[in-house]
Amino acid sequence: MRWIWIDRILELEKGERCVSVKNVSLAEDVLHDHFPAEGDRPATPVMPNPLIIEGMAQTAGIMVGHARDFAEKVILAKIGKAAFTAAARPGDQLRFTAEMERIDESGASTVGVVERVDPADGSKHPLATIDLMFSHIDRNMSGLSFPEHNFVFTDQFMDLLRESGFETPCLDG
């Protein structure tokens, strides 16, 4: 299944910051269901906010994984805050900026902003602030066992990193 909600990584500073972009397109089925015309109301295609949170989780998750050379299985554990001030419409480019607030053996917390780049004039507008927490699950679920291989950072993420021009590590499994 394809579940990648960012298109390219622009910046990746180890343990500090990750910037990515996502182009919102009417070719995505989800926009046609969110929301279709109903009665007198015309269709209003906007990117669902939960998927924008997923885009931030992927951007910040890559930053958290990269900080420890993708040795940890990094799982989104908590959405500390997600506040939206605008909608993402077809043609918009979303720009995700995630910054590391803290990272240690057990997990990480990140802060992030999402901006909307207007395709008409390239101007940037604030769209959301999203703060997340990630868990390094092998270190927090004692007693439970997980597969040896890193099922979080799959080829899809590694392809995305490589295509964005970043080095990718060789992961076992």
Binding site: A77, K78, G80, R102, D104, S135
Partner: protein
């Protein structure tokens, strides 16, 4: 100068409001983090992160939640904390009231010992040691 209990409580209250999405008046000294304020396992990590920031202190991974004791075969048998384990827990969290927990000794119930007061005293001890 050491912070008073009231000052520490005020900041702990803010931390818990943000971490758990609860209202100010729910965060009383007696409130239990799990039962009364709805904290789940990941929230303890979140709370530890936020306490560090709020008080400019460093909290080691197992300092607040003594997972290393609770997952140690020496201190836990068949899901119950042994006598040696109880001693280790008392040493770790001297300000927590473990008398209820001593009844069940169920490792999965250990989170219930965390009240707001335990957090406040934990922070006070950290500040005094700093």
């Amino acid at each position: 100068m050491a912070a008073t209990q009231e000052e520490v409580f005020g900041k702990v209250q803010e931390v818990l409001e943000d971490a758990l999405g609860v209202d100010n008046d729910e965060v009383t000294m007696e409130a239990k983090l799990s039962d009364d304020l709805g904290a789940e396992s990941i929230d303890y990590l979140d709370i530890a992160f936020r306490l560090e920031k709020a008080f400019d202190i460093k909290i080691e991974q197992t300092e607040l939640m003594p997972e290393d004791v609770l997952n140690n075969g020496e201190y836990v048998q068949d899901g119950k904390v042994t006598d040696a384990g109880m001693d280790a827990l008392r040493q770790r969290l001297p300000f927590a009231d473990l008398s209820d927990f001593d009844g069940s000794r169920d490792v999965n119930a250990f989170r219930d010992v965390f009240t707001v007061e335990v957090l406040v005293k934990f922070v006070q001890a950290k500040l005094e040691a700093a």
